[in-house]
């Protein structure tokens, strides 16, 4: 009987991966795809070695180094010793355990959450994990994808499963049409501003509605990517024709008749009419403006036409103290217009916004303009294939002529594990996902924005409403 009840996309993917349900409701959940990077895996491989265990499904696993690697010419190797050791450790581990690995100098190398979908390793209906919270990105193809810790990385390597209890279902519907100058990044920042950084805790968020369906796959990935910033481990979007067209022909995707078979299955995945959600939130896309974070978590966000809030207006004492600390850390004045804030650095890239569509949006703003004096603007493509595509379209020439730096792919200044870091007090317009204190370098001040908004800040030297430049 329970089989007949209408189910959500999440319910369907979950149910089809339950190997065994234990008496207390904990499930042994099968994992179809395991993505591995150098920062969260060394201790997991060490654990396998100590216990004499092997990797159960190397053919379901894909490893790449992305966090530590320099975005300048990497044929010279990695100068920083600890970073080099971490990458070398990954290379030794994948060789010892027979795990497929994309070498640093391979054109397919890139940020793990960019290359998974790009290579067709992340497919609809799959369970996908990685020792990285932004694994939520892959939910854009209709997969159940979530971040795990290193102990769970070891667990998946050894057993190809996880012990999990099902999450609750949350539906975020974005109706209507997005105004010109607004993007997927603005949608997801508006959502986090609405539901808070803990609004999705314990839930998997499914995104739907006209404005979500209208997004291209890159935009859907941006939205799912930042789901973790709303507290939910996974975001999902039902697969549709756009999804199938995106997946078709990619390196690790099924080919020919196998692809048609797969599509027939993928068409069964969208939520059934009448499926129940534990929570539903609705936004109207027409109300969304280009967004910018002013504080030190992603819910501290305002439209670019807005002002820095005054902590004294906050009645709750603990919240007031929190707001005051944010205002102080960010070097702001209550009531100040955010568009009056000058920037020192602009960072364009990351698993949130490092795709070809993002670079096209930047080039559109940069064309015929120049980076403002005193501003350093970096563009770090999400993968070697993104970089190659951009160069084939001549986008590198446009942005270089405009004074941007054009770098090699990697995580870069999103978290500053490589040499790309902010110095104390520097203010940065960034297309990344986290504006926590010190995230982009100790004392650095991050304002999260869309790629078009970042480009606008680069050419004017201050946070700017990109609609004025279009």
């Amino acid at each position: 009987m329970a089989e007949k009840a209408p189910r959500t996309l999440f319910d369907k993917v979950w149910d089809s991966h339950v190997v065994e349900r234990l008496p207390d409701g904990t499930c042994v959940l099968y994992i179809d795809r395991h993505l591995v990077h150098e920062v969260t895996s060394p201790q997991a491989f060490e654990g396998l070695r100590a216990a004499g265990r092997r990797v159960r499904r190397p053919d379901a696993t894909l490893a790449v180094a992305d966090h530590n690697i320099p975005t300048s010419d990497r044929r010279q190797g990695i100068a920083e010793e600890e970073s080099r050791i971490q990458v070398e450790t990954l290379e030794a581990n994948v060789a010892d355990f027979g795990v497929p690995y994309i070498p640093v100098l391979d054109v397919r190398q890139g940020i793990v959450h960019i290359i998974g979908p790009e290579l067709g390793a992340s497919l609809p209906g799959m369970t996908i994990v990685c020792g990285d919270s932004h694994t939520s990105t892959h939910g854009a193809v209709g997969a159940l994808a979530f971040g795990i810790g290193t102990s769970e990385v070891e667990h998946v390597l050894a057993t190809q499963t996880l012990l999990q209890k099902p999450a609750k279902n949350m539906f975020v519907r974005v109706d209507g049409t997005l105004p010109p100058g607004c993007t997927a990044k603005d949608i997801v920042l508006a959502i986090i501003g609405r539901i808070s950084t803990a609004g999705g805790t314990g839930h998997v968020i499914e995104y739907g509605g006209e404005a979500i369906r209208a997004l291209d796959m890159a935009g859907r990935m941006t939205v799912c990517n930042m789901t973790i910033e709303a507290g939910a481990r996974a975001g999902m979007i039902a697969p549709d024709e756009k999804t199938f067209d995106y997946v078709r022909g990619r390196e690790f995707a099924p080919q020919g008749a196998a692809f048609d078979q797969a599509v027939a299955y993928w068409r069964t995945l969208p939520s059934d009419p009448g499926a129940q959600y534990d929570k539903t939130v609705t936004l109207n896309a027409a109300d969304i403006a280009p967004m910018v974070t002013w504080g030190t978590n992603p819910e501290a966000v305002v439209p670019i036409t807005g002002t820095v809030p005054d902590p004294d207006d906050e009645p709750d004492e603990a919240r007031r103290a929190r707001l005051r600390r944010m205002v102080d850390y960010m070097g702001l004045t209550p009531g100040q217009k955010v568009s009056d804030l000058n920037v020192d650095v602009v960072f364009i890239g990351s698993c949130t916004n490092g795709r070809i569509e993002d670079i096209r949006a930047v080039a559109k703003v940069a064309q015929g303009r120049h980076v403002a004096p005193g501003v350093r603007a970096l563009i770090v493509p999400g993968s070697g294939l993104v970089k190659q595509q951009a160069e084939a379209e001549g986008l590198d020439r446009i942005v270089l002529a405009a004074g941007f730096e054009w770098r090699e792919p990697g995580c870069s200044m999103c978290l500053g594990m490589n040499p790309d870091q902010l110095t104390p007090g520097q203010r940065c317009a960034s297309t990344s996902n986290r504006n926590f204190e010190g995230r982009q370098g100790p004392g650095g001040r991050t304002h999260l924005v869309s790629p078009a908004m970042a480009a606008a800040a680069a050419v004017t030297g201050h946070l700017t409403d990109v609609r004025e430049l279009l």
């Binding site: 969260t40 012990l163 929190r322």
Partner: protein, 206 residues
């Protein structure tokens, strides 16, 4: 993993919400290939100034909280990155239990894997315990996992809830890979069925 049964220890108050994992252990310390040695960098930017000197106003730089094994905080503790370096840093410092109104999901999972007990209690109760913790040397709390109670310095007991399966693993210090491998025949069976039902599922080869 060390079993967690009972713990009587100094509790440190950290009345801050949204303590993210970048705050617990900044990214520049994630380059280690070991699980140990991160305690010295726990809360690095809160604990030390730009010259590496201790900030005297930070709780873990004060006596008796340098010996704290319990931490009490506000909402959404452990939000942000999935880095297990966060619980590793807490554990390496000596923290075995974190009490807060709620935790971010991935961090919450990660604590259990390292023998750290996360306890969810309502904000008002956390604030009471934070007041207890401010008693300094007298700030000892007792955590009894078997009975699921926190014992306050005045002897009052506060009950907490915990998933029974996770409680069992913690009490016995069990490695959950070992638990899962008991289901190996079921995993074999699942894989065999999948090869029949989804023959199109591709393998990865570089």
């Amino acid at each position: 993993m060390d079993p967690f049964t009972t713990l009587t220890a100094i509790a440190a108050p950290l009345p801050v919400a949204n303590v993210d994992t970048d705050k617990i252990i900044p990214a520049r310390f994630l380059k280690t290939i070991k699980r140990t040695g991160l305690g010295v960098h726990l809360f690095d930017t809160l604990r030390y100034d730009a010259d590496g000197r201790e900030r005297p106003d930070f709780v873990l730089n004060q006596e008796p909280y340098r010996q704290a094994q319990i931490l009490i905080a506000h909402e959404n503790f452990g939000c942000g990155s999935s880095r297990e370096h966060a619980p590793w840093a807490l554990l390496d410092f000596g923290i075995r239990c974190v009490i807060a109104p709620d935790f971010a999901d991935i961090f919450h999972n990660n604590t259990f894997k390292n023998g750290i007990l996360p306890i969810r209690l309502p904000r008002a109760v956390c604030d009471q315990l934070i007041a207890d913790a401010a008693l300094g040397e007298n700030a000892r709390l007792t955590i009894d996992l078997e009975r699921q109670v926190v014992v306050r310095p005045n002897g009052e007991e506060v009950r907490f809830e915990i998933d029974p399966f996770r409680k069992h693993l913690l009490l016995n210090g069990l490695d959950d890979i070992g638990q899962t491998l008991q289901h190996a025949p079921a995993i074999d069976g699942y894989e065999a069925r999948q090869r029949q039902e989804k023959p199109w599922q591709p393998a990865i080869a570089i």
